[in-house]
Symmetry: none
């Protein structure tokens, strides 16, 4: 799996050996999570929190370890290095979303419903775990060093699934012909993402002078409306 290389390589050549040691943990004591797994998850959870609060570049591995209540050496034991940790945070949390999107894409629903589903799914995820979304969006999704992010198969997969939804929509003539499926998938994801970013940045970042007035629900409804109708057009929406 592709891994980001966010941090300036420090120390020696260590990035190479990422996530070596207990990569095969998990598959041992099925059912009752083995204590080892607990620790792993603890660290991952702490990483989400710390990354969300301080940013990837603004925190130390030891901050994460402290939050998790473990020694920082253990983070290396499990995740190899800081990049590996971010990658694992991403992989673990994104997988859920990617899978759900896949299923929606493959369902027999109409394009409209598929898109609505995805929007619902995303907003639901955001409401349930805003910190996770924040990290996914801000720390992983956007990073100059992260052209590689798009190389991540899981990310590519979601893009492809959504592109396919639009392509299918074109075949069924649900999608307006002026719309390019690939471009549209980018815009769609971008609008979605920005919606979250605006919340994450305005509401969690203490004070907000801009659109704090907009509720999550308003945002969702506006997004769906825009997809369906476009933003313009009074009584009749046949413009341009």
């Amino acid at each position: 799996m592709a891994r980001p290389a966010v941090s300036r390589a420090r120390g020696t050549a260590a990035a190479a050996r990422r996530e070596t040691a207990p990569a095969r943990a998990a598959a041992k004591d099925p059912g009752a999570a083995s204590g080892r797994d607990d620790r792993r998850k603890q660290i991952l959870k702490a990483a989400v929190k710390v990354f969300a609060e301080k940013g990837y570049h603004g925190c130390r591995i030891s901050d994460v370890a402290e939050e998790a209540g473990v020694a920082y050496g253990l983070v290396y034991h499990y995740y190899g290095n800081k990049d590996g940790l971010l990658a694992s945070v991403f992989d673990t949390n994104w997988a859920f979303f990617a899978k759900a999107v896949d299923e929606i894409a493959e369902s027999g629903a109409t394009m409209r419903d598929k898109l609505s589903h995805i929007v619902e799914l995303a907003f639901q995820a955001f409401e349930m775990a805003p910190l996770v979304v924040k990290v996914l969006v801000l720390e992983f999704g956007r990073n100059a060093r992260l052209g590689e992010a798009l190389d991540n198969p899981q990310v590519a997969r979601v893009f492809k699934s959504i592109t396919r939804i639009f392509e299918d929509g074109k075949k069924t003539r649900e999608l307006y012909e002026g719309i390019d499926p690939s471009a549209m998938s980018i815009l769609f994801i971008g609008a979605l993402e920005t919606a979250f970013v605006s919340f994450v940045l305005t509401n969690q970042g203490t004070r907000s002078k801009v659109q704090s007035a907009v509720t999550l629900d308003t945002m969702k409804k506006t997004l769906i409306a825009m997809l369906h109708r476009g933003a313009l057009g009074g009584g009749h929406a046949h413009g341009l």
Copy 2:
């Protein structure tokens, strides 16, 4: 003016003294840039390039200085510290866009035309100076430490102008009632931004496995079409 605090706070006194020294330049030899100004601009230009290529966190001040052909001390002389440099890069370049958006917002054009103008403007800017856009979007616009970005009056101003366009649109019934102006301005900017990010990340970031097929023009057309008509709707766009 609000200033970003990207890097881990590293001495507070420093930030206070930012850009103190030759702040009174520029007003001297109108037309031919006075030598001092040359250097300032040189550095700013170099900063854009280096930030774009390596990212704010991935470069050293000395990289910028080298690119500009000056001693790194001069960067501190003029911009106080790394944050100050980024802030100046932002202020300088964003001002242009902010002003243009303001003018568009205040023009007597229809909402549709205003939005099209802005889209055109943005894509034009991107074509003319993709590096600048990249830095504005990636390094400044998105940063965990940057809830403050939205506190930046210039950023807020653009948000407000665009929100006003939508609000005016509502009055003239150009805007579909299901659309909230504030939310819409976020989605609009977000979609725009993501369009650029996708280019910046896929095309400049060496290889691209995803949507390299989408041209800038396709993206622009799709965005405008979506605004006008929505993404859905076959022959007739009265859905939902």
Copy 3:
């Protein structure tokens, strides 16, 4: 405990985190110093030497580390920063003197004997560890940024103890009425201190053109004599 702020404030967060990490050492293997403690002490000892030789401002942390035979990072690991190191040097070494002075002050001896004891103690300490005294006196005791030095509880404690000795002396009529206990404690400590400074500066600082002729013993005797009799007065000391 009050800590000195000798160096230009250079990041405030740093100071806060001072000496956090292995603060809980020492209480483990009584008798044989546990390995960790060894390193700490090694560094402290090296710091005394280097501070004494080059002065606080004239040396680098890496000089201390080199002298101690450790990586400079370890100095930060243990002492947080340069100020923290100086503070620890002070605390560690001054504690001994402070305690001894306290005991003398609380002994039932006459004022004369108490003062003589303290003088003896100080000169003894100087003979045993001139470098330590040099650092305490020159680097910590005198520093423009160090009005805070007097806020240091340990320093204040010594002043108080000595003041008390003089106050008690007043009650027992051992102290001449014209003498103010507080003022006298300052003069007493000052004379003592200067005696050391004169040695430290003239004898260790390479050449000396001034009073290199004065021996430590002469100095001590003169000080005690002055305390007892005053400097003036021929056969009978009832002057002024």
Copy 4:
């Protein structure tokens, strides 16, 4: 004249050319201080203030220049470098005291009166220009790199004059025999100095927890009393 070498040599070899340029200024427009002299004095005065407030190591040349209202280049023009500036501060201000002490030493007064005069002189100087005294005492008088301070002929001269006072006192049997003149001169100066330091550090350095109660006058009286009678001895001062 000996010059201190306080600051770690930075830049290239510049210290060598100290105070070259306008060393011969002053002697040009007798009577009305030439504008040039004004500037020199302005800088010197500013240096005293800034050194006193921030300490030699804690201030920048530009701080002094700013305080003086001149460009920092001018400080170099007049004083060569930072060390040269400190040296000039010292030379200029110490000269007054040195001369006065000389005159007292050469007067035909009794030892007792000479010493009282010097004490009066010192306290007077302190009351008139505490900042100057602070700098002389803290920044110049005590500095690990400044064993050389005692090499300063002006400093040595004062020590010698005072030592001579005590020596003369011995001849006239005014000085108790147990007292060594050289040692006594050190203790005398040290007590005096510390008296000032205690004021400078406790009163100007904001709050004071120690002997803020002691007034300058009490200090002076105590010092004189101690010299005359010693600190000890109730009714009769023939002890030891």
